[in-house]
Symmetry: C3
Subunit: 291 residues, 3 copies
C-alpha cells in the first residue's frame, strides 16, 4: 500500500489486515520498521483528535515528525498543494498526513509525488483512518461484521465519516441504515424517524452536526434537532442490551446525543479515540514498511 | 501530587521539596523517571517563556511532547475543554500543561479526567509554576524566607502572579507589601506610594501592566505610571545593598522599570527565566513519578 | 563562526568550507557534534521550505528542537525581539534561526545575546542559507564558479536572494547579469530584455514576484510579466545545452516560469530544495561545534 486515500481502494482483506495489526499493537506488539522514517502532518483544517492521534501513533512507530504549520506556510503565498508536497518530498519526508477542505485534493498529487500520502480527511469526501478505527471498535465489540445492524444518524451528505463507513461496512456484510432529516438525505436512501431503528440496531453511530459546513439553524434549532433526531435518554433506554453508541467526535452535547450519555456504559465514544492510535500505528507501519 | 493547580494546595513542605529538587537539577542531577511519559502543552493564550520553559523542561526529564495547536484545534468547533482533555487522555497522554483565560478552568476537569493537569496560568487566578520559580529565586538569593521584606508592585488585582506569590510568601514567613495606584487595589491592602518601601525591601517584585486585561491608559499614560509607580533609576539607587529586583516578564520597558535596569546587577529578571526550567523539571518529575 | 547573518560576512574560504561539508553530508557523512544542542526556529513570516528544511537539518545533526510559535508568542504582547531571544537563551537554547520582516533585525541582538543566530531571511535584506544552497547547486553542476555567466531575473530590489547571491557569486568570479522591468531596477544596473542573455547564460536564476512586498499589478498583469520577463518555452529552447534553471520558490507558475518547465530536465528547482538540507546541516554543524 503506497497511499491511504479512500476506503474504496481497500479490499476486505486489506481492512482485516490493518484491524488485526491494530489489535496486536493494542496487546503490546512492537512496530517492525527497519529505519527511522520522517513524516509531517499537513492539517489545513482545525483538528484535535485526528492530528494528535497521528502525532502519537507516528512517535509510537518510531518516526521523526517534522512540524508543519499549515496556517503559516507558503500556501499563504499561493503555493499549490503539489508544490508544497513535492518540496517536503525533496526535503526528505517519507510520508505526509493531509487534511484539506477540497474533495479528493489528492488527485493532483498522484502523478509526480513519490512520498506516501495518508488522507486525514478530504472536504466532504473520505476519512479512512476514522473509518478504520470505527470498524476496529465494532469488530472488537462483536468479533464479526456479518449480519450486524448499524444505524448511521445525522448529517450524512456532508459527512466524510458516513461515506467512508457506509462503503466499508456494507462490503463487510453489515446491514446499514441511515437516519436524517428529509432535507439532508441527498442521494442516500434514509429513514427520517427513529421508529424501529433504535430497537434493532447493534450499533448507533451518530454524526456530528457540522456547523462549519452546514447551517443547522436554517431548518431547526439545536433543541428541535435533539428531540427529533438526537439520541435522547428515552431512545437509549430502548436499545438492545449489548448495543453500543459511537460518535466520531467532537460531540455537540445535547444535540446529537444527551450530554450525560457521552460516557454512559454503552458509549464507545472515548474508546474510539483510544482505538484510533492503534489503527494509525497499523496504517503507518503498513505504508512505511513498503517504502 | 496528582495535579498542580494552585499554590493554595501546596504545604510549605511541598514547596520546599520542589525547591530543593530544582536546586539538585541546577547542580546537574539526573531526572528519575522510570519510563517515557507523554505530555502536551495546551496554551490558549499567547506565551513565550512559560510555554518554551515547559517544552524545555519536559525534554530534559525525558518526556515525549505531543504538539498541540490551541489556535487550530477542535475547540474552534466548540468542543469543551473537558472533551478536549479527555480526548488527549484516551490518546495516551500522561499530563497536560494548560493556560486558559477562565479563572479556575480546571474545576470542570477534576471529575472524570485521569491525566495530570499542571496549571500554566488561569485567567486572573493562579500561576503556580511562576510562583515556585519566584520562590526559588528568592531562596537561592537569601537562603531563607523568614523575616524577608518583599514588595509586590503593579497591577495586583489582575495579576495571577501576585496572588500566587502573596499566598505562598506570607505562609513562609515573608512580610509582603503591595504597591499600586489606588484605583487598582481591589481587595488588597496596598500602599500607593514608594515612600519607605524602597529602602526596606529585600525584594522588589514588579508586575507586568497587562494591557491585555486592563486599560492602563484610562488612568494614566505610560510615562505617568513609570514616574509614580515604576522602578526609576532614582528609586533603584535607594535600595538596600543586597536587595534584588524581580519581574515575571514580559517587561514593558520604561513602564514598570527603567529599560536599562532590566539587566542591572541586582536584577534577577533573566535569572528567573533560567530558574524556571529547573523548577518545571522538578514539578514534572514530582507529578509524573507518582503516576 | 558564531552567527550566520549575511553573505557579506563570509570569505570565499568560509563559503567553500560549507559547500564541501554539505557535499560530504550528501554522500552520507555523519555529523560531528559532541553533545545534543538545543535550537528553535523563530519564523515571524510564513515559510514552508526554509523552516521545514531547517527543522529537518536540525534533527539530522542531532539537535533537540524546541517549538516556537511566532504567531502566538509574547511578541503579541509587545515584547521586543531582544527580550524574546534573551529569554530563549536563559531557557538554555544554543542557537535560533530567525526570519523577520525588518532588514538587519539582528543588529539589536548582537550586544548582550550569547546564543548563535542564523538568519533565515531579514526583510528585503539577506537570506544566507538560501544563497549557500544556490551556490552549492551551481558548484555541483559545473564544478567551478570562475567564468560562469549567471542571469538573475525578476524583482531584484525586493529580493533578499538576489542581494545575497550577487555579492557571493561576483566574489567567486561569476559574471552576474540582472534582468528586470525598468521600474524595478533600483540601484542595480540591469537589463530590461532577455535579448542575448538567454543564449549566453549558464544559469538562469528566476526570482519570485513577491506579491507580499510589491504590487506587480500596478505595472503589468501576470500574463504581461510572463510574456516580457518570464521564462517561456520559446526562451528556454534557446538556452545552452548544459545551462540550468533555478528558482528559490515558491514559484508563481506561468508568471516567472512556464508551469511545465518547473520540472523540466534542466530545472534544478526541486533539486535546490534537496540541496538545502545538506547546506543547513553544514551551517548548523559549523556554528554549533564552535560553541
Amino acid at each position: 500500500m503506497k497511499h491511504l486515500l479512500s476506503m474504496e481502494h481497500l479490499t476486505n482483506d486489506d481492512v482485516m489486515t490493518i484491524l488485526n495489526r491494530a489489535s496486536e499493537f493494542e496487546q503490546g506488539a512492537t512496530p517492525q520498521l527497519d529505519r527511522t522514517y520522517t513524516v509531517a502532518n499537513l492539517f489545513f483544517e482545525p483538528s484535535t483528535r485526528t492530528k494528535t492521534s497521528f502525532e502519537m501513533a507516528e512517535r509510537k512507530v518510531g518516526c521523526t515528525v517534522i512540524p508543519f504549520d499549515a496556517d503559516f506556510s507558503s500556501t499563504l503565498k499561493g503555493e499549490s498543494l503539489y508544490d508544497t508536497v513535492k518540496t517536503l518530498e525533496m526535503i526528505g519526508l517519507d510520508a505526509v498526513v493531509i487534511r484539506e477542505k477540497h474533495d479528493e485534493y489528492y488527485n493532483e498529487l498522484l502523478e509526480g509525488i513519490n512520498l506516501s500520502i495518508i488522507n486525514g480527511g478530504d472536504g466532504t469526501g473520505q476519512h479512512p483512518s476514522q473509518s478504520l478505527l470505527d470498524l476496529y471498535t465494532i469488530y472488537k465489540e462483536f468479533g464479526k461484521f456479518e449480519g450486524l445492524n448499524v444505524t448511521i444518524a445525522g448529517d450524512i451528505t456532508h459527512s466524510r465519516v458516513a461515506k467512508s463507513n457506509a462503503i466499508a461496512l456494507q462490503r463487510l456484510g453489515v446491514n446499514v441504515n441511515f437516519l436524517c432529516p428529509p432535507e439532508w438525505a441527498g442521494d442516500f436512501e434514509a429513514h427520517h424517524s427513529w421508529n424501529g431503528l433504535i430497537e434493532e440496531s447493534d450499533v448507533i453511530m451518530l454524526l456530528r452536526i457540522q456547523h462549519e459546513r452546514h447551517r443547522v439553524n436554517a431548518n431547526f434549532t439545536k433543541e428541535e434537532y435533539h428531540k427529533e433526531y438526537g439520541l435522547t435518554f428515552e431512545r437509549e433506554s430502548k436499545m438492545k442490551d449489548h448495543a453500543i453508541i459511537m460518535h466520531p467526535a467532537p460531540v455537540n452535547r445535547d444535540v446529537e446525543i444527551a450530554s450525560e450519555l457521552v460516557e454512559c456504559e454503552r458509549s464507545r465514544i472515548f474508546e474510539q479515540v483510544r482505538n484510533g492510535v492503534f489503527i494509525r500505528m497499523a496504517i503507518l507501519e503498513t505504508i512505511l514498511k513498503e517504502r
